[in-house]
Symmetry: C2
Amino acid sequence: MDDTPDHNTEPPVAAPPRRSRRKSGGTTLRDVAKLAGVAPITASRALNTPNAVSDAILERVRAAVEQTGYVPNMLAGGLASRKSRLVAAVIPTISGNVFLEMVQALTASLAASGYQLMLGQSGYEDSREDELLEAIIGRRPDGVVLTGIMRSPQGRQRLLTSGIPVVETWDLTPDPIDMLIGFSHEKVGEEVARYLHARGKRRVATLSANDQRAMRRMKAFSEAAIELGMARPGETEVPGWVVPAPTNVGLGRSGLRELLARHPDIDALFCSSDMVALGVLTEAQAQGIAVPDQLAVVGLGDLSFARDLQPALTTVRIDGATIGSTAARFIVDRSQEREVRDGIIDIGFSIIERDSA
Amino acid sequence: MDDTPDHNTEPPVAAPPRRSRRKSGGTTLRDVAKLAGVAPITASRALNTPNAVSDAILERVRAAVEQTGYVPNMLAGGLASRKSRLVAAVIPTISGNVFLEMVQALTASLAASGYQLMLGQSGYEDSREDELLEAIIGRRPDGVVLTGIMRSPQGRQRLLTSGIPVVETWDLTPDPIDMLIGFSHEKVGEEVARYLHARGKRRVATLSANDQRAMRRMKAFSEAAIELGMARPGETEVPGWVVPAPTNVGLGRSGLRELLARHPDIDALFCSSDMVALGVLTEAQAQGIAVPDQLAVVGLGDLSFARDLQPALTTVRIDGATIGSTAARFIVDRSQEREVRDGIIDIGFSIIERDSA
DNA sequence: ATGAAAGCGCTAACAG
DNA sequence: CTGTTAGCGCTTTCAT
């Protein structure tokens, strides 16, 4: 509170040698407005809602922008409007290749609506996911796309209270945080088991990464296989080999060797990713094992190379592109206060029958 | 220009029923400060420069943060401090797999320093790159990582005047915008030609994506091959086949077929990516062509699967992880006003000799 | 070591 | 359709 003497009859003085922050030097909306001879807000409108402005002014503002090379500061805009036009995505890792299609579609769809993607990699560990979350929420993104279900209660809570639209993907849950685009990993396992059973395979096995979702697929696969009678007497589960995520071709090759050493009689193998499956195919070829007759191979992901392998890889297709573009649409709609109907969807999967099984 | 009557002797009234913007409802630094019984700036210091604050206050602020679940708004912080802690990366496409390692390393290294990555895909077209740029600069990132050299003069200019640290990667140029981490595509072509020549191959060919850098590698390869005497009389260049980027396995398979139809006698093939090379290997196997004896195959990228193929793929290794982590370091250093020495480096490449050539 | 004031560059709210 | 004003939530600058 200033102790201005009460006999001061003038409006508060503007004088006290005021400090001033260094101006960035960059062109601001103010500069543009001044040049165009309008108020800053009018220039703002000319850029953001051109219809709300007369043609003459629109023209002048555009010219001023052109002349100055003005680029709006979205940090400032975002702070004022509470719309950052940023969307964060959390994926376990980009190098597994399984999520590429989704990220690709997400980036593209968002860009088409003027949004940018912030990428975070959690590395299959729930702990890092939690850390990432704080960094993400701090940027006040207009949406968050999660790969998988957010398990950690703190994470859920944080996201919930942040009010940011959330899309969980790549899995199903009865109580999503917000929106959801996924499929049932259990069903995948069951269907693949049925698929192999129908093709006469009776001695099936699994080769899986040790991540949550892959393990659930394999468990369901094993249970369905047992149920279908594809088990030796006394066996309660199907032979399996687990490798660390993210998977790669080498793990597929060594995995097959390990499996064969323990169970030389297996006639079909469900792999947790196409990369592992490629490894299995490669090792089988190297060992002179006939695919699919001697050993049927099923992958997951339908990566771009799957159809072009020799033999062409039978695999479970997850439509990552649809997951990505739908997630983008959900978030853009939400962030523009449009209602999102059917924000919880099971996009399913399909077994693409090719030559390896 | 208010027309306040000049007989007004009172200080401007504070009264007029003032509108107020809806508060976000979220916890702000102010709330935390109030709870801790300190000024906002002190709370700010407790969080950002803990050393500048007494232990007692530090404790109280931390408790208040804990209690309220406060998450700093980095948009606001970035606006005030001119540090967004965001770094933008522009890559042609994520789906080609060649840049994955770099993106992976970039994300990880940045995250370790508290920075986040914004991903933009330009799609191998310079035009989209220009568009992206505006969106990027608008967010005032603390750095921009470009894949390849920025060709467009407007783009260069924009970046230059923006004052944002820029790292161009994956290529060399005498006049980079700012920092540079790359290698010579011409040298790659030459070295591969020499490599094949030394292994007795005399009828070499190329299978390349139509992107700028790949084409330059192939051109240099062809010229070196000619120079080395690996040409039929009158030939001015080596046989080649061009496919659209991004490459995939299918293009490799069909590419080999096309090449063989036109030049049945080729004995070595330099592919512009490991994905294409995998396609070539697959097609060769399908056709019963012996690799490397009948046909040597060299890829580029040393993707994770290269070593595990059968035959293991001889390829040109580009250390994407180093590109990514170095770029991250450069940008973090710069953004913290630390000097970056040797900001222009040629990281080279190496030919990884395996079984396919 | 702590605080008051003044913005960063923009847009929401209200008024004409 | 255009303008005024008051912030968005934080940090800088200056002062103590």
